[in-house]
Structure formats: structure tokens, C-alpha cells
Amino acid sequence: MIEELFEIRGADGLVRRGVVSRPDKDKIRSVGIVLLPAGLKYRVGPHRFYVSLSRRLAGEGYVVLRFDPLGMGESDGVLQRGLTRDLWRKIESGGNVNDALLACQAMRDSFGLKRMIAGGICGAAITAQLSAAKQPQMIDGVLSINTAVSLSPVQKLTANSIGSAQADHNFHSYVRKLVSGDAWIRIIKLESDFSAIGRTLVAKARDLMPFRSHHAKTDTTSENPQFMESFYQLERNGVKHLLLFSGNDNRWFEFKDMVLERHLAARPAGNHTEIKVIPEANHELQFSAWQNDAHDILREWLDRNFGNVMA
């Protein structure tokens, strides 16, 4: 495995940078993977997950770029000063799409790759999905880890912003805590998240109302208006899409509420779309066992869909 710097100068004269991990020459496949930033975390990813993942995948024959769009990591430019959630929202709305496509093109050109995959965690996943929808000829596969179906809120969360799946999850957790001495101590010390408890109880009560329709159970205003259209577009264009979720992550509850229940109504997601869940894992896959599970699922998906594309 070889690692080297990778630089792309755009038509605007600005340089985007990353690090590419390449397999030894005898092992090389003609498949490239671009890992995009998870929200505002630069190319190494949360807890350096992208570094270990790209090295493992390079060991299996893939050419992997961990990439910084403009204003992030080592690339030129400075992101606007402001609320973090406003920057997340811009990313979720496609702010990094052009740079993601530029990186995929540069990878194809530099290494003569026949297939390209883009993806990563959260903001990276929605960026990859929007990029592949925009230019399906550029991206053959999307790896979505805990993708963002909704846009980050511009203001304080309300009860309606909690979907049924998340309300159920939170409610069962609170019920279990009723027998926990530590939990009661936190309540007495006013250390509990009363806002979340309140929103959960209101959401639970809302769901129990018999006259409420299925669709009214969750707030639709937070849904990313580009999500479903780009989701269907990938399927229509035959772009392979692996959606990998953590069982303990709000992104999974949100996906269940907003996509599986509301839009797909328990229908299969499609011939090119696969959904996998790692039970108990959290948003950033912090524990090593979850990282290993994610790698195993990804490797199997890659082998099945792109394993025979050799240089």
C-alpha cells in the first residue's frame, strides 16, 4: 500500500487536496473510492476512521482518496464564520457537490479508473448521493453511512421534529431508566435533558392519538427536499447504493420515519439499493467492533458489485 498527496486545481485556480491510498501494483482493481468529509470533520474522518478504512480498502485492491473540499482540511479557502448547524445545512443542501465531482473526475483521469464510488459518514453520504444524482455517469456507487435525510434545524427543535421511531426509542430508554438510581440523581440535580424528555413525551402522546394520520406523525418541513428525488434517481440510473446505519443513531430513526415509512411504505428500496444496520452502533461508529462490522459489510458489497473490475 502506498500513500501520497493528491492535489486538484479547479477552474477557479483554487487547490483541493487529499491523500490517496493505493494498492501494490499486482493487487490493483480499476475501482476508486472518494471519502468525503463527515460534516465539518476534515479528511481523516471522525476518530481517524477514514484513514484506517482507506488503508484497509487499499489493501484489498481499491484506490481510495480521502478528500477535503474547499475551505476544509488542507484545501484552499476558509469556511464562513457562523453557527455550525448553518454550515451543516449548506453541506446537506449540496454545498460540496461540485468539489466531490471534481475529485471523482480527477481520480478517473489520474489512475485510469473504470468505476468510481463516493461516500462517507452523514454529510459525506448526502453529498455523495446528490453528486451521483447530478452526474450518474461519473459515480457508479454510493456509500452512505448514517446519511442525513433531514436538513439541520435553523432553530430550536420542537416535538414535531421527533419522529415516531425516535420517540419510541427514547421512550423505552426512559422507561428502563425509571429503575436506575443514577438516572433519578441526574433528574434531582437537574442534569437530565428535560427538553428532549418533553419533546419525546409530546411526540409519544401525538402518536397515540387515533385520529392522527401516519403522515402527520412527523414533521415534514425538516426533510431535505433533494433527498427523495436524488434517492430515486440513483435507483433509476442503476447507481449501486449501500445505506449503512447505526442502530442507535438518530439518523436511522429519521430514515425509518421519513423514508421507509412515509415514502416507501415498507416496499423494497429497489434493485440497486441495499440497507444494512449495525445494532447498537452510534453515529460515528466509535467502538472498534462497529468499525470492523462496517468494514466487513462494505467489503462484501464492494466485492459483489465491483469485485471483478480489474485494471
Binding site: V44, L79, T84
Partner: protein, 292 residues
């Protein structure tokens, strides 16, 4: 579709030359580096990164501070320790002694490759502690410390709390308490802190650190900027004793915790950067304090 430039506050290429690559440390590992600026009569800065996710969150501030220093005529070397960032290696086999060796190797690199005649060291939080440890072994002109870790034992306990928080969020209860986590370390196992597997070598080396003791053996000028939260009194009584009998210049500034999952993103940190430059300018002959 939104244009990428909508995300940027500045979109020019840095005026100064920037070079990136890998250098090899004494243990044969390739370490990622970024050099801002080239040969200069001024001392070169070597930046020491903070620990775990604090490094990831503070990366934008580090790179912008490096570009600011470089624009003012100082060469700057940023690099990733072994097992961290884009460098080779694994956290599981690393302690602070190895990282201090990496700082020494970075100093040798900047002296050899960029002909730096003298060196300044900079660090945030645990990076400040590492800079202090390196300054004890290497002649340097200035040491700039942002919110340094005062007591390694307390700091490592904060790290353990991160593990407990993850357990609570995952299992709704603490499966392994602090005592058990420490027992795991003593049994040669690793513990997970914010996604990183840390072993006893690192735990012990952090826990044994004390800033006051470290400063006792340092002969260069030390500039400390201690942070307070917005609206708080600009006083840090815990750090005041550090100035007694030592060449320590302490200033206090209102700064939000940009290294700790900030709700407000500010890569440029104008006030912090300006104060840092002024503190250094005040002791550097021939360098005016600028109107920043």
C-alpha cells in the same frame, strides 16, 4: 444547486508557498507534514497538535493560524504525530515520549530542509504539554501555549468520562466504570476514547504530566493564553501561579471551545491570533506590534 463559493468567507489561494509531504521519523514511520513559507531569518514555528478529536475540531484554526504566521514572515511546520492524522502508525503502540521524539524529528526536518536557524514551538491543550516536553530537550526561542493542560491526571479522567458517556448513550448504563477501565489498561487491554483505542503507555504518560513541573526546566520565553468563556471574568487563578519565578507571560482571553464540538464555527479566531502575534512581537527585536 448551491455554488461552493457560498460556503467560503475567503477564496483566494494562500499567498505564501505551501508544501506538503511525508518525512520519516526515527522509528521509520512516514509522518504527514505541511510547511507554510520557506527560508527565513525568523525562527520557524513547529506546531504540536492536541489529542484525539480535539485535533480534528481544531484543525481549521491550526491551519489558519499557520497561514497567518506565514503571511507575517514566519515559516511554519505542521505535522501529524505517529499514529495520528494522516501519519503512519497506530495509537495503540504510542505514548507521549514517542510524540515528543516526533517533535524533535520535526525540528530536525525543518532545520535541515528549510535551514531554520532557530525554532519556536506552539501547542493547544495537550499539544501545549507536548511542546513543553519537547522544549525541555531542544533549544527553542519562544513557546506559545493555548489553554494548556495543567494536570495530566485530571485530563485523563476527562478522557475516561468520554468513554462513560458513550457507554451510557449506547447501553443506557455504564457497563465498565472508571475502575474497570483502569483495570483493563493494567491488564494490557486498550480503552476506547472518542473512537480511538488508547493503551496504558499513553494513559500513564498523560497522567504523569504536570504543567508547573514542566515549566521549571524550560529556559525559553513562555507565552500562555488562557481561555475563559464568553461573559466570564477574564481571570484564571489556576494559572496565575505559573508566572511566579518563571519567564512566563500569561494573558487571558474570551474564547469559545473550538476544539470541543463547537456550536459556532470560527476558523480564523481573529482575537486569539492577534493576541498571539502581539505577545510574540513584543519580545522579538525588530518586529513591530501590528494593528491587527
Amino acid at each position: 444547486m448551491m455554488k461552493i463559493t457560498n460556503l467560503l468567507t475567503r477564496s483566494e489561494s494562500p499567498a505564501d508557498r505551501e508544501e506538503r509531504g511525508f518525512f520519516t521519523n526515527r522509528r521509520g514511520r512516514r509522518l504527514f507534514y505541511a510547511m507554510h513559507g520557506g527560508q527565513s531569518d525568523r525562527p520557524a514555528w513547529v506546531f504540536c497538535n492536541p489529542f484525539l478529536e480535539e485535533k480534528v475540531f481544531s484543525h481549521p484554526v491550526y491551519i489558519n493560524f499557520a497561514r497567518k504566521l506565514s503571511a507575517e514572515g514566519w515559516p511554519v511546520l505542521r505535522f501529524d504525530y505517529e499514529g495520528d492524522g494522516d501519519s503512519e502508525g497506530d495509537y495503540r503502540k504510542i505514548g507521549l515520549r514517542e510524540w515528543v521524539d516526533d517533535v524533535e524529528d520535526a525540528i530536525s526536518f525543518v532545520r535541515g530542509r528549510h535551514f531554520a536557524k532557530s525554532v519556536n514551538l506552539f501547542g493547544l491543550r495537550l499539544g501545549a504539554s507536548i511542546a513543553c516536553l519537547a522544549a525541555k530537550k531542544n533549544a527553542c526561542t519562544n513557546l506559545l501555549l493555548w489553554e494548556p493542560v495543567m494536570d495530566g491526571r485530571d485530563y485523563f479522567q476527562e478522557c475516561l468520562r468520554l468513554n462513560l458517556t458513550t457507554q451510557l448513550a449506547t447501553y443506557r448504563k455504564v457497563v465498565e466504570d472508571r475502575k474497570q477501565l483502569m483495570a483493563n489498561l493494567n491488564d494490557g487491554k486498550t480503552i476506547n476514547i472518542s473512537g480511538y483505542e488508547v493503551d496504558r503507555l499513553m494513559a500513564d504518560s498523560i497522567s504523569s504530566m504536570n504543567l508547573a513541573t514542566q515549566l521549571d526546566d524550560i529556559t525559553c520565553l513562555v507565552h500562555i493564553i488562557a481561555f475563559v468563556r464568553a461573559g466570564a471574568e477574564p481571570v484564571r487563578n489556576d494559572m496565575q501561579p505559573l508566572t511566579a519565578g518563571r519567564k512566563v507571560n500569561l494573558r487571558v482571553l474570551e474564547v469559545h471551545q473550538f476544539w470541543n464540538e463547537p456550536r459556532f464555527y470560527d476558523a480564523e479566531q481573529h482575537a486569539l491570533t492577534a493576541l498571539s502575534l502581539d505577545m510574540i512581537a513584543a519580545v522579538m527585536p525588530g518586529m513591530p506590534v501590528t494593528d491587527r
